[in-house]
């Protein structure tokens, strides 16, 4: 089986500090993968390298065999990687529906000139983007707030909307940066089910960063552990939670 995403000896240096050092791993299609590690281990930097926010100092990232590590973020999204952010970044003044439509717009085909004249092709495409977005909203149980301003949503819903918006770009790989952060136990329970469903029903490949071990150990089939920019362990959750190096660096005690 060929890998969907492959990182090869990726190094990301900021001044004298290697935030990510010699990191290599692969993600297979359909996998649900967790990335854990203490604060400052370089997890979000890995996301930023994969999505093109940072260009790696050394090494390469490839998606389906195509090297993407020199591309701009929007080009990488076009090729099929979408993400959410650790500190939510919604389009605050726009409605929930509009947020998701902007995600769906990543797959648009009509030209801007057509939009200025409101050409039939644009009207048709708008209707289809809207319908697509409404379907996603219903999957995410956000239909009732479709026209609310996204800034006014409660925190849990904002996190869910961010995932819906990322999915609207029709990604091959979905990156979730601490999706359960700030959620209460019930909300994170619901989130777990949702992520599981994405994988099981839509075959969505997911890589997620999370500190909530219940979520990570509960849904991920494979877990990567980082510390000081280095991958210190990877494997099934049962293996990871017994790994002495992981316990020493992050978990503290067997969970």
């Amino acid at each position: 089986m060929s890998a969907l995403l492959e990182l090869r000896q990726v190094k990301m240096r900021f001044g004298g500090l290697y935030a990510v050092n010699d990191l290599s791993f692969q993600i297979q299609p359909g996998e649900l993968l967790g990335l854990i590690g203490p604060n400052g281990a370089g997890k979000t930097t890995v996301f930023n390298v994969i999505t093109g926010v940072y260009t790696p100092t050394e090494g390469s990232v490839s998606l389906n065999g195509e090297v993407i590590s020199k591309m701009k973020p929007y080009q990488i999204t076009e090729r099929g990687i979408a993400r959410t952010f650790q500190n939510i970044r919604l389009f605050g003044a726009l409605s929930v529906l509009e947020n998701v439509m902007i995600g769906a717009f990543a797959r648009h085909r009509t030209a801007l000139a057509g939009a200025l004249m409101r050409s039939p092709a644009v009207v048709l495409e708008d209707a289809s983007l809207r319908e697509q977005s409404m379907r996603l909203l219903s999957t995410f149980d956000l239909l009732s707030v479709a026209h609310a301003r996204s800034r006014d949503l409660p925190y849990g819903l904002q996190r869910r909307l961010e995932i819906a918006r990322a999915l609207a770009t029709q990604p091959k790989l979905l990156l979730l940066d601490e999706p359960a952060a700030g959620m209460n136990p019930q909300e994170s329970e619901e989130l777990m089910h949702l992520i599981r469903r994405l994988r099981d029903e839509m075959g969505q490949t997911v890589l997620l960063i999370e500190h909530d071990m219940k979520v990570v150990m509960g849904i991920c089939e494979r877990v990567l552990v980082m510390d000081y920019g280095v991958l210190i362990a990877q494997g099934a959750p049962e293996v990871i939670r017994k790994d002495p190096k992981v316990i020493e660096a992050y978990l503290g005690e067997p969970v």
Binding site: P73, A93, S95
Partner: protein, 353 residues
Amino acid sequence: MIKGYPRLLLFVLVTIVLLWGLDRLLFGLTSNGALGLYQYRVFILIPLLYITLAVSLNLINGITGQFSLGHAGFFAIGAYLSAGFSKFYASQWLAGMPPSMQGVMQIVFLLIALLIGGIAAALAGLLIGAPTLRLKGDYLAIATLGFGEIIRIMFENANTFGGPRGFTDLPQWTGFGFFWYALVAVGCIAVCRNLLQSAHGLAFLSVREDEVAAESMGINTTRYKVMAFILGAAFAGIAGSLLSHYEGSIYPNGFNLDVSIMIVAMVVLGGQGSITGAVLAGAGLKMLEEALRFLPEFSLFGRTFQPLDLRYLVFALVLILTMIFRQQGLLGHREFGWKTIGIGKRSKVEANG
């Protein structure tokens, strides 16, 4: 319900007929003295011009969130270059034509001149946009301010265009003026409205809201910023061509920083991103300015003041009051339309409010 291109064509035709009718009506009113020519100019014509300027700047400042202080520069490029074409070339060609054709050809040349003004300004928008859009916020404002001043000073020193004495004896092909001024204003509003109704418009808005998130949603933010500058500049350029083809003479000082600031004030007052807000504030501020002329002069601290001299004080006051009592501007992000007053169903834009 007619849809697609036939509908667009119908809209254009109806607009042309309606505006032409209004033009003739106003012409009648001014020729029998019911409406003074001066009042017509300052309360109808110039506000229409500023509606175009405010709505087009709203595309850059309000919708795409790029603070530009150089709109007078695009306005000037359109005015000067289109007038240059008409004065140095088109009017010579026109003079060599048989009289029976001159009427039609004058309209054709006017359309070409408007196009030249728009395209020249759009190119300037591309030129200024591409390198400066790496800048954000205040830095972009300063760079565009510099651009506007450079354009003005360039024309002030260009002898071909009359230099500081002004570019005069230009062909006045817009005639009575209302039809062309209104046509451009309606066109500019329609284009912006179409854009905002489509998902393409959301892409512009996303750049304003959060650039990092927009990029990660597959939006080429640089491209959209440059497109906003090109489109906004094009309409400012066309507005400039109208001015030079109505007034018959233009002066570098008519395109100074005060003009840029005034247009920015209109966008801020109307509500950043609201088209109808820009329309209301564009017309309103310009009318307010002219209304000041009619107030009597007064003495204060032993000095005599013309109320008009205090216009920038009044504008500043209006803006300060807006910032204190209504930071989002008169209309905020909302639009005022048929749906607001209960005709048709509520649109998505209002439902946000």
